[in-house]
Structure formats: structure tokens, C-alpha cells
């Protein structure tokens, strides 16, 4: 799936998981992860991404398939012998131990000499900037501090791999953004390999080297954030990553990497890139990002023109979101930066929208 160099530090081959021997939660999961890579499993809840994480950690068994870590299969290794660090959504700090004792626990279990443990704990407390909090109990820390301790505790014993299960899910928005930076900083500094699970696409886009979009127990696409955003392979990924508009239509002509689509209930034809759509005559959905659409007459030099009627606008702050109706009655959204006098329209007023053909992609109708 990827063409990078040594991407087989952690590899999954045809992993399947079933809880009841009837339905598969994970249908066919194959993926390679490079050493030091930050890989995110992104998917809606119930997509099976947490199950994959639990199988790596060893808390769930693998129904079939193999997981190789550094060339060695780990599926038959007990969880506590896998040397994999884990950060949980609810932090899972031991409430009866102080912060320093929490950090020391994995080292104590490994029978490290006491002075080495003390030095290591001090080093990691400084790393997460909580050097004066070592004596406190977890209950006395804020959510963000707790998650930093949980992170340090998962890293302190030099695990071969760090798993993070929606670690920022319980934090508010501001704190979440701070922690994203914090995790990225630690990752850059220490260079550990991470498998990160989240349903928050912003989190995935900002932190990851690569993102595996997961749905229905299958990896839909695994690629770098910018590739995923700009060249989604199917309409699930196009819809799930970022905001997107879908215009229904029929394919009427083909020209190499581009196709021509006749918009449903209208006479206009638009040129689009070829996604996973079918041959001439088949139904398709054309995706166009809201920020890649322009309201006439500002950008008249575009390839495509779509006639719509104005419905309403939302004032978001940094941008303004315009809602229009397509000829078949579906909504289409346009984002306009709030940097000049934003245009105003009357409800029902006919408007022309334009776009470049490389910003439109035709996918198979679902």
C-alpha cells in the first residue's frame, strides 16, 4: 500500500477479528508501519480501529492473520511480554500511587536499580514539564497534566511501540490542541513509533506521518495527510476527511484521467478528475471541497460552471459559509474567507458557481 523504504517494522497481514464467530469486526487489515513513524488509525466509532489497537496490545486475540513487530510474530506473546507502551483515553493512572511512583512502575517491574529509576523519573518529569509535581497524586492534577503523565509513563521504559487510544478524547478543545503539539514535540524529540487511534480528523491530519482511514473493518486508504485530503481514493474518504460537497450526475465522456459529468436534473456538463467511478453512462458523485468553489463573477476563468440558487449563509468567523441549492434540490456549500465585504444575496436568487477541473473528482455513486 505504501512505497516508502523500510516500512516493515510493524506489519499486519490479513488480520481478521470476530467476537461471535459469525460477523467480522475487522475484515481484512493489512498495513506496514516504519520505525519512528506516527501512524493514525482514523475511522468513525464502531469501525474496528480500537479492536486493532487491542490486538496489537494483546488484550484481544487475533482471529486470523499475523502481526509482526521487528520481524517477530507477537500474536502468541503474552501482553506483558510485548514491551508495548499504551496511553488510554481515561489516562489509567494508578490513583493510589504518586506521579513519580506511576512513572517508576514500569521500571520497577523491569527490576532496574533504584538510582537509575530515580534519574529516569526525574528526566521524564522534566520532559513533560511537571518536575515539581512528582509527589502529587493523580487526583490532584488537571486533565492535561494527567495525560502528559500517562504519555511519559508509556514512553519511560523505551517500548518498541507506543499505542494511543483516543488519548485526547476527554479534553476540551483548547487543551486538545495544546496536547497535539506536545505529543508531536515528544515524537520529534524521542522518535518513538506510534499507532494512534482517533475519530477526530483534525487531530489525525495535524499529527500523523500517515493516516489509515478505517471503515467497515477495512482500510479504505492509507496515505500522508495532504495526499488523503487532496486525492481521496473513494467517496468514503472524500466525505470523511474534511468537509466536502457531492454533486450527483452521469458520466457522458472520458478523456484520460478526466471525465465529463452531466449534472442531475440540469443540462450543464462539468469536467472532473477520475476517481473510482464507472464507465460512460454510469451514475457518479462528484466531490468538490467548499473552499475550492467560487461564487460568480469573482472567478469567471474556471473550467466548470454550475447554476444554483441561493439558500442561506452562516457566519463562522474566519470564513463565511454559503448554502446553495443544486438543480436536484441537494445542498452545496461554499466557504469564502472573511477578508473583504462578503456578498449578500436574496433567497432563491440564481447564482453561478465555478471550479477548476483538477479540484473535482468523480466517484462511483453509492
Amino acid at each position: 500500500m505504501t512505497t516508502q523504504g523500510a516500512t516493515d517494522y510493524l506489519s499486519f497481514s490479513n488480520i481478521q477479528k470476530s467476537y461471535d464467530q459469525k460477523t467480522l469486526v475487522v475484515k481484512d487489515f493489512s498495513l506496514n508501519v516504519a520505525k519512528g513513524e506516527f501512524l493514525t488509525l482514523l475511522g468513525p466509532s464502531g469501525s474496528g480501529k480500537t479492536t486493532v489497537l487491542m490486538m496489537i496490545a494483546g488484550f484481544e486475540s487475533v482471529t486470523s492473520g499475523d502481526i509482526l513487530l521487528d520481524g517477530k510474530p507477537i500474536t502468541s506473546t503474552a501482553p506483558y511480554k510485548r514491551n508495548i507502551g499504551m496511553v488510554f483515553q481515561n489516562y489509567a493512572l494508578f490513583p493510589h500511587m504518586s506521579i513519580a511512583e506511576n512513572l517508576a512502575y514500569p521500571l520497577k517491574v523491569r527490576k532496574m536499580p533504584k538510582d537509575e529509576i530515580d534519574a529516569k523519573v526525574k528526566e521524564y518529569l522534566e520532559l513533560i514539564e511537571l518536575e515539581h509535581m512528582g509527589g502529587r497524586k493523580p487526583a490532584q492534577l488537571s486533565g492535561g497534566q494527567k495525560q502528559r503523565v500517562a504519555l511519559a509513563r508509556a514512553l519511560i521504559f523505551n517500548p518498541s511501540l507506543v499505542l494511543m487510544d483516543e488519548p485526547l478524547g476527554a479534553l476540551d478543545k483548547k487543551l486538545r490542541e495544546q496536547m497535539q503539539l506536545e505529543i508531536t514535540r515528544l515524537h520529534k524529540k524521542i522518535g518513538f513509533t506510534v499507532i494512534y487511534v482517533t475519530h477526530d480528523q483534525t487531530e489525525a491530519l495535524t499529527m500523523s506521518d500517515r493516516i489509515a482511514v478505517f471503515n467497515d473493518g477495512v482500510v479504505q486508504q492509507c496515505a500522508a495527510p495532504d495526499v488523503l485530503y487532496e486525492h481521496p481514493e473513494n467517496s468514503f474518504v472524500a466525505d470523511f476527511i474534511g468537509d466536502n460537497n457531492f454533486v450527483n450526475g452521469t458520466i457522458v465522456a472520458e478523456d484520460g484521467d478526466f471525465v465529463t459529468v452531466k449534472i442531475a436534473n440540469a443540462e450543464e456538463e462539468i469536467a472532473t478528475k477520475r476517481g473510482d467511478c464507472g464507465p460512460i453512462g454510469s451514475a457518479c458523485r462528484v466531490s468538490i471541497r467548499p473552499e475550492k468553489l467560487f461564487i460568480m463573477p469573482h472567478e469567471p476563468a474556471c473550467d466548470n460552471k454550475i447554476n444554483v440558487t441561493y439558500a442561506m449563509r452562516l457566519y463562522v468567523g474566519d470564513f463565511i459559509q454559503y448554502y446553495f441549492k443544486l438543480p436536484d434540490g441537494k445542498d452545496i456549500v461554499v466557504k469564502v474567507l472573511n477578508d473583504h465585504e462578503a456578498p449578500k444575496f436574496d433567497e432563491g436568487q440564481p447564482i453561478g458557481l465555478t471550479s477548476l477541473k483538477q479540484h473535482c473528482t468523480a466517484y462511483a455513486a453509492t
Binding site: 496490545a57 494483546g58 488484550f59 501482553p79 506483558y80 511480554k81 514491551n83 508495548i84 507502551g85 499504551m86 488510554f88 481515561n90 489509567a92 494508578f94 490513583p95 493510589h96 512502575y105 514500569p106 517491574v109 523491569r110 497524586k137 493523580p138 487526583a139 490532584q140 509513563r153 508509556a154 521504559f157 499505542l163
Partner: protein, 287 residues
């Protein structure tokens, strides 16, 4: 401004209900506690009666004495009974606590098959009438040479105590976050080490209160003792029982007072342990 006792919308019926509930609750408490409290002064009676004498009512020091306490301590029967109660109670509690905790941990695992059935079986000693259990045990234990000796009584009392331990430990386990245990495993601690380092400290209050209940159950128990104990295993309740029939005098009131004192001390210890362990578990934010 005067603080209003009732919200403005309260009608006469609301107020009547309020006071009615208050008085009936007080009445229930009085009926529960007074029969116990009345025993305490009577145990200091100088006369061998179970009623208040004139001297006691007028607080004449000569009407009070410690003779029944002396009698209790000097009577070899009572001394044996106290010793037996402690031996049987301590060992039965130990067994019930260990087995009950293990059962509770197993029963709260999601992989446990026939969970409800096993739970019902283990809790049945609490529900089945004691006399039936005692009779059953008598015939069953006799076959294995467990009637008329300490081992039999300790096992029998452990069986009676296990349900209490299971209930209290299960209750603390429901609030236990299993990801803590998983976190222990992920850091390299074996399942057994994770259990002792992480699970046990968290469920300790449940284990302690379960153990207390188990001990009190054994300490109070008379029916099973009547069936299973030989003359050498008379416990305090058994001695009181025969005392009531044979030589009725306030010695049993003295014993009862001692038992009440022990029970109160137990409850206080329990509460102190609970507070301490809450503090250790980091639940008290002001620790």
C-alpha cells in the same frame, strides 16, 4: 431575614407528611436501639435480676457492681467460649475473605461462563434458611469427620461468610476501571503482579468490609454451632443460648455488653479503614 423552613408552595399536607415521616423514622430507630441500650446498665446490676432495681433508678453506687463481668471472666465455660469464638471467627474470616475475593474477581470477568448461576449458588447460604443449611451440613460433614471439631465449624462459618465478601468486593469491582489493570500489563507487570499492585489496593475497602461482615456472621452464629459443635467448641452465642436455659443470671447481659462494645469498635475501625484507604486511593482531593 428569617430562614424559611418550608418552600412557599408547601400545603398543610406536605407539612404533615414531612413531620409524619420524621417521627416514624425516629420511632423505628428507637425500637432498633433501645432494646440494645437497656442491656448495658442492667449488666452492672448487683442483684441477679433482669429488671431495674430501686437503687439503680436512684443512681445508688451500691446498686451497681462488676460481679457479672467477674463471673464471666472467672467461669471456665465462658473463657472457653470466648476463645472458641475468636479462633473460629478469625480462621473462618480468613478463608471466607480469600475465597470470596477470588470468586468476586472471577465473577466480574466478562469471560466467566454461567455467571448468574454460579453467583446464585455462592450467595445461597445467605438466602436458604440457616436451620436447613445447619442440618444439611451436620449430616454431610459427619461423613467426613468434620462434625464435633474446629475444622468443621471453621469451614461451615467460612461458607456463611463468603457471600458477604463476594457482595462487597463485587460492589467495589464495578467501580474499578479495568484499563488500570491493562495499563499494568502493558507496562510489563505479569497478571498476578498487576493484580496485587493495582487491583488489590483499589478493592481493599470492599475486602475489609467483607471480612468484617464475615467475622461478625461467625461471631453471632448459633444454629450451625448447635448442630456441628462438640462440647469442646462451644462459642459465645452457644454458651449464651444454654445459659438462658440452665442458669439464668445477668452474666449473659455482661457478655452481651462486651459483644456490643466489640461490634461498635468494629464499625468504627471499618469507617477509619475506609477513610484511610480512600485517601490512599487518591479519591480524596484534599489529601
Amino acid at each position: 431575614m428569617k430562614k424559611q423552613k418550608f418552600p412557599a408552595y408547601y400545603s398543610i399536607w406536605h407539612k404533615l407528611g414531612h413531620y409524619g415521616l420524621q417521627y416514624s423514622a425516629n420511632l423505628v430507630l428507637a425500637f432498633l436501639i433501645l432494646p440494645i441500650l437497656v442491656i448495658i446498665p442492667l449488666s452492672f446490676n448487683v442483684e441477679p435480676y433482669f429488671t431495674f432495681t430501686e437503687g439503680m433508678v436512684t443512681f445508688d453506687p451500691d446498686a451497681y457492681s462488676l460481679r457479672w463481668y467477674e463471673g464471666m471472666i472467672n467461669d471456665p465455660n465462658w473463657r472457653l467460649a470466648i476463645k472458641n469464638s475468636l479462633i473460629i471467627g478469625v480462621f473462618a474470616t480468613l478463608i471466607a475473605t480469600i475465597l470470596g475475593t477470588m470468586a468476586a474477581v472471577g465473577l466480574s470477568s466478562k469471560n466467566m461462563p454461567y455467571k448468574r448461576l454460579v453467583m446464585a449458588l455462592l450467595l445461597s447460604p445467605m438466602i436458604v434458611p440457616l436451620i436447613i443449611i445447619a442440618a444439611g451440613m451436620f449430616f454431610f460433614y459427619a461423613k467426613f469427620g468434620l462434625a464435633g471439631n474446629y475444622a468443621g465449624l471453621i469451614i461451615a462459618h467460612a461458607v456463611l461468610g463468603i457471600p458477604f465478601v463476594i457482595i462487597t468486593v463485587t460492589a467495589t469491582l464495578t467501580s474499578f476501571d479495568r484499563s488500570l489493570y491493562f495499563a499494568g500489563l502493558s507496562m510489563g507487570a505479569s497478571p498476578l503482579k498487576s493484580f496485587f499492585d493495582i487491583v488489590v489496593p483499589m478493592i481493599r475497602p470492599g475486602v475489609i468490609s467483607g471480612a468484617m461482615f464475615a467475622f461478625v456472621t461467625s461471631f453471632d452464629e448459633v444454629v450451625v454451632v448447635l448442630f456441628l459443635a462438640g462440647p469442646g467448641q462451644r462459642t459465645i452465642p452457644r454458651q449464651m443460648f444454654s445459659g438462658l436455659r440452665e442458669q439464668i443470671n445477668p452474666t449473659i447481659l455482661a457478655v452481651a455488653t462486651v459483644l456490643i462494645a466489640i461490634a461498635v469498635m468494629f464499625l468504627i475501625t471499618l469507617e477509619l479503614l475506609r477513610r484511610r484507604s480512600d485517601r490512599l486511593r487518591g479519591l480524596d482531593e484534599h489529601a
